[in-house]
């Protein structure tokens, strides 16, 4: 199935901003992180459809996962 991966801030370095990927059905967010060599401990927030999700969230066909390191401002 197709998913979209969006990366932000430092996670873009040496990777990409946005990419469509073909992944097996049942792929979890954690699997995406592993495939990108991103340590889950460095992750600040994960969004699917504008809602925060956990690393064990299973992705559905056509979904986009947005991956942010711990960032802040104000």
């Amino acid at each position: 199935m197709k998913i979209t991966v969006k990366l932000f801030a430092t996670f873009r370095q040496g990777r990409f901003k946005i990419e469509d990927r073909d992944v097996p059905v049942g792929t979890r967010v954690l699997d995406v992180l592993h495939s990108l060599d991103i340590d889950p401990a460095d992750v600040g927030t994960l969004f699917v459809k504008g809602r925060a999700v956990e690393v064990d969230r299973v992705l559905d066909e056509g979904e986009a996962i947005a991956i942010f390191p711990l960032v802040g401002g104000g």
């Binding site: 969006k6 932000f8 801030a9 430092t10 873009r12 901003k17 460095d42 600040g44 927030t45 969004f47 459809k49 504008g50 809602r51 925060a52 947005a66 942010f68 390191p69 711990l70 960032v71 802040g72 401002g73 104000g74």
Partner: protein, 576 residues
């Protein structure tokens, strides 16, 4: 710090007073709000002789503490009609503290048309008639005073908007690089202008190291404190690299980025106006991504942003300003946004209030959506020059919305709502509604816990727990605002217990006290209650602790949510 400088502009006389016992343990916001509450009649006209403008360094300002370079300015606000406290960086606060001055109180009102400059020295204040810098922008005032008085003077100044007594005007402070930081919100510039003071220069002659009761303990506590700032990913890395604008993409992703005057929670061109894009431009053009607004800043969220030819465009380029111009007003070009930011600094207006006002003006048809060029023209030709149109715009978001008969006017207590939509991020909605300041995200930054997973997690789309979250944050913020520490220390403070413990340690070592964390919380509560009592007496009752009605009527994409918190629940905010 043992002196209060009181400057009476009616009789053009300044006196030096000793600090009353009751004010000895106060600084920053706690002190400005206590003085305003004690000495300003809540029902007075903010631009009349009975209002007072108070400057106060924080309890740790002027010491070696990291990130303690901020100071407070307070008055009754011409925009909200309630009490106001703003915090700013720059150099003046540290110099004032190191001259042993606990507060400067500007009061009264001169007769006649003349303007004045104030020169604050170790032992007193000189009040001099001023003509040269009148009508000039803040950058020119700083240049002029630097030439006149010397490089090292602290400078607090007013742009043309403040001279015109506009409710959107701010007060600027010269930073260590000769650029500007500001007391942004609530129209404090108009209060200074109503006293006919164009600038306050602070002579550093005679600055001394502040007495520290237990220097060894202070050093240890500061070291531990600094370590927490460096260790936390937000204060140690994130803010340094991308500044606060890193929030554009994350708030957009969360569906809480108010776009086109609060009609959507997501913006199509978010990546063009993001912190990531800003960082790339800065690096490619030889600017500085990492920069501090004041001496001793470890976090360095500020930056220097150059144009395509490598020439300075702006500094201190913040998320709220970029959001307001880029998403709320649909300006897609980050360079024009930077230019507008710099012009706003120069003419001395609040860089949140004015862009939000312009988005309302765009909805009213006064200028096309996204037209940054026209906005620049209106800033330079109308607001700076005080034309009739300029004065309407200078009245702020609420005034413009009302003038054009709009209902979608994003303000609380007449102050523009900043960069987070309260329908999609409900915790910040509680803060906007209840803070004594009028809509202000910094008063209780629920974004940390609703979105950023700092200080725990509270679901942004649910009303559950939001009042408690906002209350706890507002109490802690009022305490931090009293120390002179930059509010961004809140990120480590929410996650690393040693952070606040070491702040308490520094306070104890500085003053020879034995405060606990509970005492600091009690200080925060006392500040909020003092401010709330002032607002109630000024006519801002519980019914003013509300978001505008359109948030209850218009759902916002992508979550299709409305503001639906029961006013009774909101009212429990003050039950402490």
């Amino acid at each position: 710090m043992h002196k209060i400088f009181r400057i009476d502009m009616t009789d053009l006389k300044a006196t030096v007073e000793t600090v009353p016992e009751a004010w000895a343990g106060l600084g920053g916001r706690a002190l400005t709000s206590t003085i305003v509450a004690a000495e300003v009649p809540p029902t007075c006209h903010p631009l009349g002789p009975n209002n007072k403008l108070v400057f106060a360094p924080g309890l740790l300002s002027g010491t070696a503490a990291s990130n303690a370079g901020r100071f407070s300015c307070g008055a009754k606000s011409p925009l909200t009609g309630g009490i106001k406290e703003c915090s700013a960086g720059g150099s003046a606060g540290r110099i004032i503290a190191r001259l042993g001055i606990k507060a400067i109180i500007l009061e009264g009102q001169p007769k006649g048309e003349g303007w004045y400059g104030l020169i604050v020295r170790k032992d007193g204040v000189e009040i001099v008639p001023e003509t040269e810098t009148l009508g000039k922008g803040n950058f020119a005032v700083v240049e002029d005073l630097t030439a006149r008085l010397g490089e090292d003077f602290g400078v607090i100044t007013l742009g043309p908007a403040g001279e015109h007594l506009m409710a959107v005007s701010d007060i600027s402070v010269k930073d260590p690089d000769g650029k500007l930081r500001s007391f942004g919100r609530g129209g404090l510039g108009a209060v200074m202008g109503s006293k006919r003071v164009k600038f306050i220069a602070i002579d550093p002659e005679g600055v001394a190291n502040l007495a520290i009761a237990d220097p060894a303990a202070f050093k240890v506590a500061n070291k531990a404190f600094t370590k927490t700032l460096n260790d936390h990913p937000v204060s140690g890395q994130g803010l340094k690299k991308y500044g606060t604008a890193v929030l554009v993409n994350i708030i957009n992703e969360a569906g809480g980025l108010p776009t086109k005057n609060f009609t959507s929670g997501q913006c199509d061109h978010h990546d063009q106006i993001s912190g990531e894009q800003m960082y790339d431009n800065i690096v490619a053009r030889g600017g500085e991504p990492t920069h501090g607004c004041s001496v001793g800043c470890q976090i360095q969220c500020s930056q220097v942003y150059n144009d395509k030819d490598g020439k300075f465009l702006t500094s201190g380029f913040e998320y709220e300003t970029i959001w307001a111009l880029g998403a709320d007003g649909l300006i897609k070009d980050l360079d024009i946004i930077a230019e507008i930011d710099n012009v706003m600094d120069d003419i001395g207006v609040d860089s949140i209030e004015v862009p939000v006002m312009f988005a309302v003006a765009m909805e009213a048809g006064l200028l096309p959506w996204g037209d940054g060029k026209r906005m620049l023209e209106m800033l330079r030709e109308d607001i700076a020059k005080g034309t009739s149109l300029g004065r309407l715009l200078g009245g702020g978001t609420a005034a413009v919305g009302r003038a054009f008969g709009l209902t979608r006017i994003p303000v609380v207590k007449n102050q523009a709502i900043p960069a987070y939509d309260p329908r999609a991020i409900k915790g910040i909605g509680v803060t906007y509604a209840t803070t004594t300041m009028g809509a202000d995200h910094t008063a209780g930054y629920a974004i940390a816990t609703n979105i950023l997973n700092v200080g725990g997690k509270v679901d942004p789309l649910s009303n559950d727990g939001q009042v408690d979250l906002s209350r706890n944050l507002q109490i802690a913020t009022a305490a931090v605002d009293s120390t002179g520490l930059c509010l961004f220390i809140a990120f480590p403070a929410l996650d690393i217990p040693e952070c606040l413990a070491s702040v308490v340690g520094m306070l104890n070592a500085r003053y020879g006290l034995s405060l606990t964390g509970d005492d600091v919380v009690a200080l925060g509560k006392q500040v909020l209650k003092t401010e709330h009592a002032f607002n109630l007496a000024a006519g801002l009752g519980d019914e003013s602790d509300r978001l505008p009605e359109f948030f209850e009527l218009e759902p916002i994409a992508p979550h299709q949510v409305k503001w639906d918190m029961d006013p009774k629940e909101l009212a429990t905010f003050w039950s402490f």
